[in-house]
């Protein structure tokens, strides 16, 4: 097989998306794509900044039909966009009307435009065609481009769907709080629905009430694609959500306690995806049941302790895990922590990720992180921990930590804070954490 269809498992009249003006069928979607294909300029790549998830998909599909690569900017900050545009040769912006990017040729997609009645057969896209470039998150260093083929996106979408038994008979729609210009967002909120005949909600609900309304706007049971940050907000708001078939979370580790609360409140399994921009989604787990991750079907582990990589037909070469993992069984692994977050304190080795995981398991801890201060050549560096645990005291947390970590890693200081400076995708940039620790330490002196 050298091609895969743009969309799969829809009849022409099946709903592919909900728009403000009503349902958009698979046939109408193809008309929208056909209409746009001819109006795109002749550039090799496109910055697709469209805010509606559906319009983004129309732009993404039209670009693929034209053989253009879609660039997925991490943020809309003008300097980020200019940098991406500068580093990727000739490209143009695809934007909402009235929202151009300075210094970039732009095509504005008129909202509420007249719908055409052109017809188009479902395009077959070559699996090896390069269709998107995702950029690695800034929290791990300098952003670097990661090129994605159509084959990689299709494989991940199909394997994720079969892992969770997502068929149009069982659920009907996907509602997502994550940006579609993000790797996980593209995979789970755009590719997953269009490869399984599901309908997508075009919005990006932020507040818990927005999530509730979005789930109500789509008919039938939905998959909610989200992050630990939004999930915590939905749990804390105490809302009653419409029936959800499944919740899919990624971008930062989900605390087991939060997963348990979310499952109880929303009567749906909460599954977590493990992935990284270089390889895309590679494994999943149901957080309440398992520490272990199970590889997606097309992905295999290669290498040996401690240097593991993932391999797949659609990847150009084996790609090294950004985390240290322990292989625990056939196609199963546990994440021990990030490579670069290894700490060595008085001869004791641990990873900040592992310590943070233990911190998050403490009853009453909503969020938290271990942090290694930069102290130059001081003989003994102690770790710092920042913890969000309303109603808990330092002593409560310390007592619980004593049960799970070596005393050498006890945080000094342990800072109780109202919240952590997580960014839009739920990640905790090291620089923001450093500033928080600095401010809080000064405050406590």
């Amino acid at each position: 097989m050298s091609n895969a269809p743009l969309i799969a498992l829809y009849g022409p009249d099946d709903t592919l998306a909900w728009q403000a003006d009503g349902a958009r069928s698979a046939g109408e979607f193809l008309s929208d794509v056909a209409e746009l294909v001819d109006s795109l300029p002749d550039f090799p790549s496109v910055l697709n900044l469209l805010s509606s998830r559906y319009e983004f998909l129309v732009g993404f599909a039209a670009a693929m039909v034209r053989g253009q690569v879609t660039l997925l900017p991490q943020s809309r900050a003008p300097q980020t966009l200019r940098r991406i545009a500068g580093e990727n040769g000739d490209c143009y912006g695809l934007t909402d009307r009235g929202d151009p990017v300075e210094g970039l040729p732009c095509v504005a997609l008129p909202s509420g435009r007249r719908r055409s009645d052109r017809t188009m057969r479902i395009p077959q896209i070559p699996l090896h065609q390069q269709v998107a470039v995702a950029f690695t998150s800034g929290s791990t260093g300098q952003p670097t481009p990661n090129r994605k083929t159509w084959g990689a996106l299709v494989s991940v979408a199909r394997d994720t769907g079969s892992r969770f038994g997502l068929t149009a008979g069982r659920c009907r729609a996907v509602v997502a709080t994550v940006p579609h210009q993000h790797m996980f967002g593209l995979e789970a909120s755009v590719m997953l629905p269009i490869q399984h005949g599901l309908a997508m909600h075009p919005g990006r609900p932020l507040f818990p009430e927005d999530v509730r309304m979005a789930l109500e706007e789509v008919s039938g049971r939905s998959v909610l694609v989200t992050t630990p940050l939004h999930l915590r907000a939905c749990v804390m708001a105490g809302l009653k959500l419409p029936p959800v078939e499944m919740i899919l979370s990624a971008t930062s580790p989900l605390a087991r306690e939060l997963a348990r609360e979310a499952e109880e409140r929303f009567h749906a399994p909460v599954n977590e995806i493990f992935g990284f921009a270089e390889a895309g989604s590679v494994a999943s787990r149901r957080t309440v049941n398992a520490d272990e991750w199970q590889m997606l079907d097309a992905v295999t582990l290669t290498g040996a302790e401690p240097d593991w990589s993932v391999q797949a037909d659609y990847l150009p070469r084996p790609i090294r895990f950004p985390d240290r993992i322990a292989v625990t069984g056939h196609r199963r692994f546990r994440v021990l922590g990030r490579m670069e977050d290894q700490v060595n304190i008085a001869g004791h080795r641990a990873s900040l990720g592992d310590l943070t995981r233990k911190l998050l398991e403490i009853d009453g801890v909503q969020d938290g992180a271990f942090y290694l201060p930069e102290t130059g050549h001081a003989p003994l560096t102690r770790l710092t921990a920042v913890v969000v645990a309303p109603g808990k005291t330092h002593r409560d947390i310390q007592r619980a930590l004593r049960l799970s970590i070596d005393p050498v890693f006890f945080p000094r200081p342990l800072l109780l804070v109202p919240r952590l400076p997580r960014n839009e995708t739920g990640k905790l940039p090291r620089e923001a954490l450093r500033r928080l620790v600095e401010e809080e330490s000064a405050h406590e002196c």
Binding site: P208, E209, D210, R422, N423
Partner: protein
């Protein structure tokens, strides 16, 4: 409660919830909360909405036609809370 007193209360709630290193009494009631003003972002808005729901029983939603106005300044946020509060 007068609107002025509510403004003060909401200012303190913002500072406390978002852990701003700002004295609540220095927040100008008509200055922008997001972007150039206090520099809040969408995650702050999410955190703030939880605190507002818990304190005043008002569930903020983006589909509210006045949502931009609501979050534009301390004064407009206090007005929206006054109008929509259930506790």
């Amino acid at each position: 409660m007068s609107l002025l007193a509510l403004e003060r209360e909401v200012a303190a709630l913002i500072v406390q919830t978002l852990k701003l290193k700002t004295d609540w009494s220095t927040i100008h009631p008509e200055a922008a909360l997001f972007g150039d003003g206090l520099g809040l972002d969408s995650i702050d808005a999410l955190e703030l909405s939880l605190a507002i729901a818990q304190t005043y029983g008002y569930q903020v939603k983006s589909s509210d036609p006045e949502i931009k106005e609501t979050f534009s300044s301390l004064r407009s946020l206090a007005r929206a809370i006054e109008k929509n509060r259930t506790k």
